[in-house]
């Protein structure tokens, strides 16, 4: 008997003609986005509440409101995803959006109760329906948050990689590549790709790779390094490696890496002198 009653309330909910309750939901939005955080102005909160009411009305009046594959549900997911994206872009916290969604759930049930006169808060099936619905929507918020975080981390990683391997044309046709930090396989591949493209673009005739800032090297990376030198030579440019630390030299020997076809110099300045001399460039001090 109890079950029948609650199911009836759920049916009543699905058949409900929702009136203008957006005004009642605005307070929730204002509390989360206007008060301390100042993430939205009041007009924006009013638009947000009105859009939410339209979307939830669409869902509740759908043929199968409990299904997660219907477009009305996807529209709600997109609404919360976009809200999360917008708030994160404005410097908001994911917790604000999640708490807003949780609070919105209670405000919505209360508003529907006031609007229809049906006591939805006493119905377990109605509460369960909304709890499951909002759980899914909160998942959408987290999904957006994680996506944004991943994007930011990737962008930061790329930026760090680009700034840690700056390829500079120090003279017409002479490129320098100071490598700083730990060389791993993926970074070596990125450096190689950037370097080869730069050689083709600038028609570089010599590349000086300075390893002064590299302290560790393993077998795989040393092979990549040799591959990089070989690829540079294949493109018709001279490759000069400078600044090899004694630890790296010892590692290369113990790894049986053949550097016989590679020009090495002690320091970057020696490497540049070698590159200039190969190109027939003479740098001299001005007389007088």
């Amino acid at each position: 008997m109890q079950k029948k009653e609650t199911s009836e309330k759920l049916a009543t909910l699905f058949g409900l003609k929702i009136g203008n309750i957006s005004g009642q939901l605005e307070e929730t939005g204002r509390a989360f986005f206007c008060a301390d955080t100042m993430l939205m102005d009041e007009d924006e909160v009013a638009d947000l509440s009105s859009e939410f009411v339209n979307l939830i009305s669409g869902l509740l009046s759908a043929k199968e409101p409990a299904k997660r594959t219907i477009p009305q549900f996807h529209a709600l997911e997109i609404f919360f995803s976009e809200l999360a994206h917008r708030m994160l872009m404005r410097g908001g916290q994911v917790e604000d959006v999640v708490r807003y969604a949780q609070q919105l759930q209670y405000s919505l049930i209360a508003a529907l109760e006031r609007d229809s006169g049906v006591v939805f808060t006493q119905s377990r099936s109605v509460l369960l329906y909304f709890a499951q619905l909002f759980d899914e929507l909160i998942m959408a918020i987290f999904h957006t948050y994680l996506g944004e975080r991943e994007k930011t981390l990737k962008a930061q990683e790329m930026e760090l990689r680009e700034t840690s391997t700056p390829i500079t044309e120090i003279w017409d046709g002479v490129l320098t590549l100071p490598i700083i930090g730990t060389l791993d396989s993926s970074r070596t591949m990125l450096v190689m790709e950037a370097l080869l493209n730069r050689i083709a673009k600038d028609h570089a005739r010599a590349v000086v790779m300075d390893l002064t800032g590299v302290r560790n090297i393993d077998s795989q990376v040393s092979h990549h390094l040799i591959q990089m030198v070989r690829a540079v030579q294949l493109m018709g440019a001279d490759a000069i490696i400078t600044g090899i630390h004694p630890e790296i030299a010892r590692a290369l020997v113990s790894l049986n890496i053949d550097l016989s076809g590679v020009t090495t110099r002690a320091s970057l300045s020696d490497g540049l002198k070698e590159a200039f001399s190969r190109m027939g460039i003479q740098v001299s001090q001005k007389a007088g």
């Binding site: 790709e193 080869l196 028609h203 591959q227 990089m228 690829a231 294949l234 018709g236 076809g261």
Partner: protein, 111 residues
């Protein structure tokens, strides 16, 4: 004498430029090598520039063809120099090459 699948042009004293076409069939490399060497020798060439422009990948099969041509040229005292190698081609070739290639490389034909 025209060679099918490539353009072979004299570019100054002793220098020849070989531009392969898409229709070049390296399966028939014996005949191609013979015709290239014959034509360069006829023109008293000492240097053959092989233009790799537009070739995105050099796989072991294509590398074999280049190596064989370079070796054939060397026998008759012609130096083969590969020019305009694409970055992607240099990358793939360097990944399986264990030593120095049979041919020399340059960015382009020197001015």
């Amino acid at each position: 004498m025209a060679i099918s699948g490539m353009h072979l042009t004299r570019i100054g004293k002793g220098n020849f430029l070989l531009e392969p076409l898409r229709s070049m069939n390296i399966a028939d490399q014996g005949r191609l090598m013979q015709e290239v060497v014959a034509q360069v020798r006829q023109g008293q060439g000492v240097r053959l520039y092989y233009d790799l422009n537009g070739l995105p990948v050099i796989d072991p099969v294509y590398y074999d063809w280049l190596s064989n041509l370079a070796r054939t040229c060397r026998i008759v005292n012609i130096e083969m120099i590969c020019i305009n190698m694409e970055p992607t081609a240099a990358f793939t070739l360097s990944s399986f090459l264990s030593g120095k290639p049979e041919f020399a490389t340059a960015l382009a034909v020197p001015d």
